[in-house]
C-alpha cells in the first residue's frame, strides 16, 4: 500500500517544460498542481477519481518559456495535475522522489481539447466537417520520438505507411 510520507526537513524540487502536442509550441501560463492523496483514499484504490480526497500541496504556472519549477515539496510521493483552458488535463499519479531530491519531467505535451493530432486545419468535434470535406489522408504525429504515421483511404481500402514510424 502506498502512503504519503511527509519529511519535515526535506525539500524536493520538480521541473518540466510544457508544449502543445500538435505544433510543438510552448504553452505559457499552464497550471501545475501538486497534491497528495489522503491516507483514507489510498485505502480505497478502486474509489472513483472524483470521490477521492486530495490535499493540495503546491502549485505554479509555466513561465514565458513554458518552463515550470516547484520547490519546497515536502512529501516524498505525490500526484501532479497539469492543465490550461483549451487543453486536455494531464494527470500523473504516484510520482516518487527516491535518491535524488529533484525530478526533471522533461518535455510534457498537452493535447488541445477534442482535437485529433495531426490534423492541420480541423478539430473534431469537427469530425462532421472532416466527413463533409471527405479528407482521405491523415498524418499522426508522435512528437516525443519525432515519429509519424500516415494513413490513406484509397479504393475503399485503408493504406498505412509505417515507414516513418518504424525508422530510426
Amino acid at each position: 500500500m502506498l502512503s504519503t510520507s511527509i519529511c519535515g526537513n526535506c525539500q524536493y524540487h520538480l521541473k518540466g517544460k510544457i508544449y502543445d502536442y500538435r505544433d510543438g509550441e510552448i504553452i505559457i501560463g499552464t497550471s501545475v498542481l501538486v497534491y497528495s492523496l489522503s491516507d483514507s483514499s489510498y485505502k480505497k484504490p478502486f474509489e472513483p477519481f472524483d470521490k477521492r480526497v486530495y490535499t493540495y500541496l503546491n502549485a505554479t504556472i509555466s513561465n514565458l518559456n513554458g518552463d515550470f519549477i516547484i520547490d519546497n515539496i515536502r512529501t516524498q510521493n505525490f500526484n501532479l495535475l497539469i492543465g490550461i483552458i483549451g487543453y486536455e488535463k494531464l494527470l500523473i499519479k504516484n510520482i516518487m522522489f527516491c535518491e535524488k531530491d529533484t525530478i526533471d519531467l522533461g518535455n510534457i505535451y498537452l493535447f488541445k481539447h477534442s482535437s485529433i493530432a495531426g490534423l492541420n486545419e480541423y478539430y473534431p468535434g469537427d469530425l462532421e466537417k472532416i466527413r463533409e470535406a471527405k479528407i482521405t489522408e491523415f498524418t499522426f504525429l508522435y512528437p516525443p520520438k519525432g515519429k509519424s504515421l500516415k494513413m490513406k483511404f484509397e479504393d475503399n481500402i485503408v493504406k498505412i505507411d509505417f515507414n516513418e514510424f518504424l525508422s530510426r
Binding site: I92, I116, A117, I130, R131, P144, L149
Partner: protein, 44 residues
C-alpha cells in the same frame, strides 16, 4: 463497432466505407494519445 474491430479493418485489405475509415482515424488518434501519456510516465 469495437476498437479492436476497427484496428483489424485498418490492418486488413478489406473494403470499407468512408464512415468506417473516419472511425478508424478516431480510434488511432486516441491510441496515440495514450501512447504519449504512457511514454511520459515511463520517463519518470
Amino acid at each position: 463497432m469495437q476498437t479492436q474491430d476497427l484496428l483489424d479493418f485498418a490492418l486488413s485489405d478489406k473494403k470499407i466505407n468512408y464512415e468506417v475509415f473516419i472511425d478508424i482515424i478516431y480510434v488511432i488518434n486516441l491510441n496515440m494519445w495514450k501512447l504519449s501519456v504512457s511514454f511520459k510516465r515511463e520517463d519518470l
